[in-house]
Subunit: 328 residues, 2 copies
DNA sequence: TTGTATGCGTTATCAG
DNA sequence: CTGATAACGCATACAA
């Protein structure tokens, strides 16, 4: 690996000049420029980012901390982040926190030691004072952390309301809301949305908690539906649990959507391959990741943020787990 | 951020001693040790990995280059890599190459500039001399690159043979093999496996090419099945195309598995949520990633490899897109 | 057992 | 416009 001083020697100039050329900071004469360019070609030189980092105390690495890339929501998000990072010349380190506070902290520290330029965080830890422990640009994704930290989220409440209202329009009269883990603010917001749609309507409804996991959801719902056969509409706070519900309903020989209707939340691809196709409130996952990354890079590059937080509207995608809307 | 010399000062020793303590290389007296430990606590010191990298010309970063994290095969793989890396104290940079040679090269160079410790590569570029262009530990994953580079793959041929033989046992008599892109060696191997199972049996069979993509596969197969209604068994070289085939068959009102049977390849999660559940040749994706990472780390740490390449057997998972095997 | 000095590859300051 | 040179934070050979 050739170094900057190799280039300098070959080009008969000083390293300072080469450095100036590389970063086009300051002047560099035409002659010098030419010989430098030649030397760089000659030596196939390319600057060491590590040395550069040490000097500038910055790198072009972005840390992305998510719960689990296997969770079907995150690949698309990660992809959006990586694409956007790539576009701006950054590179991303992937960290799976498993919703585990210890692991999350570990990564936060590790990333700091690497002089990463900034961090995108999908965190469960809400009470923790992240900004204090790491003195870096951060943006919270999908789940808000603290008021001071820029956040990109979906309008969960609105989405949930949309879903629930649609379910009612489609004739459901006895609703079940499958919430996510209680400590997730996004799940809380979705439950709120559900309630706001029910509002004061006189009808049967109930809420149960279920993890965002196919199999767990299936198990829980199988038992629950057996005990509560009157339920004819389900709003699940995630597509994962919606699909679990779908399977449970199948096992109970319930016809979908005739006997029971289901609406999910997230808009992950699987919802479209399952049959019947899952009606769901789709988050704009790609936009979410892209926006977060752009917000982060703006911070990194010192531009002050005009918008400190952004909330993206989800969209109801109607497929086959709901009946046709009645347009009387 | 405290530095090593801050610690040295506070502990009343030299930086060299602190450094020795940190890496426990060389001697360090009990007294020094104690005061150093104290100072480190005091200052909440933690060494800069960047400076360390510059000095040692090594880092604890592993580069992972894959086609697309959105492709449902890769999240699990990436997770395995990350888990294993984490276990050994490494960290991973995620790169999506989009099967694009330019992008792949770009990342290869970029990673080199970062002094990454090694690279795990799922490459399409077979003719390229990777090892030459980057002088780093590399291991090829899923798809072999060059003979000299350690490779971790699934036994594709064997898996495909298994699948095809099973299809025959289940009574299929007119087979279609949906291959992947021609230039993928893994797809080639699977086609070979298919052929070897057919061997000299007198029967109808044909091969068509289809990308590993739900929608494309569905489109292609819809047209094809319409023209060739006699086909009663499909071996798809990927679960993605198998699922596409499933949807196409649905649209044509073919009953599965009564009218047409399908076996996929990969063992991605979606295969289990789709209905009917997809019979498939499951790769041990996690083991694949874990093995590759271990192999890489061994190289990085200078241990010579006893096994330069490993080939993992896949497993036939029987679900509902095939009929019961006839045990006459 | 410990400290000094030098190098790792860049950037950046400050004289020329 | 250009060139020394200190600094970035750490590792390490060599002395002491």
């Amino acid at each position: 690996m050739a170094t900057i001083s190799d280039v300098a020697k070959l080009a008969n100039v000083s390293v300072a000049t080469v450095s100036r050329y590389l970063n086009d900071s300051g002047y560099v004469g035409t002659k010098s420029r030419e010989s430098i360019e030649l030397a760089i070609k000659e030596l196939n030189y390319s600057p060491s980012e590590v040395a550069r980092s040490l000097s500038t105390k910055q790198s072009d690495i972005i840390g992305l901390i998510i719960p689990d890339i296997k969770n079907p929501f995150f690949p698309e998000l990660a992809r959006a982040v990586e694409d956007t990072a790539f576009e701006y010349g950054y590179t991303v380190i992937l960290c799976n926190s498993d919703e585990n506070a210890e692991k999350e902290k570990h990564y936060l520290q590790k990333l700091t030691k690497k002089y990463v330029a900034g961090i995108i965080l999908t965190s469960i830890i809400e009470q923790e004072n992240h900004r204090q422990s790491v003195n870096l640009p951060i943006v919270a994704l999908d789940r808000p952390i603290q008021s001071e930290i820029p956040t990109v989220t979906t309008n969960n409440q609105k989405g949930a309301r949309l879903a629930t209202e649609y379910l009612l329009q489609c004739g459901a009269t006895n609703l079940l809301c499958m919430s996510g883990p209680k400590n997730m603010t996004s799940s809380q917001a979705r439950v709120e949305g559900f309630k706001s749609a029910i509002n004061d309507k006189e009808m049967e409804w109930q809420i149960i908690e279920s993890p965002y996991d196919f199999e767990m959801a299936e198990k829980i719902l199988y038992d629950y539906l057996k005990e509560n056969p009157a339920i004819d509409g389900i709003f699940a706070c995630s597509d994962a649990s919606a699909i679990g519900a779908l399977k449970a309903a199948h096992r109970l020989h319930l016809r979908i959507p005739e006997d029971i209707q289901i609406v999910g939340f997230d808009g992950i691809q699987i919802g479209n391959v399952v049959s019947p196709g899952l009606t769901t409130v789709a988050q704009n996952i790609y936009l979410l990741g892209q926006t977060a990354t752009r917000l982060l890079i703006k911070q990194i590059e010192g531009k002050n943020l005009t918008e400190t937080s952004v909330c993206i509207d989800p969209e109801l995608i109607i497929r086959e787990t709901t009946r046709k809307e009645r347009t009387e």
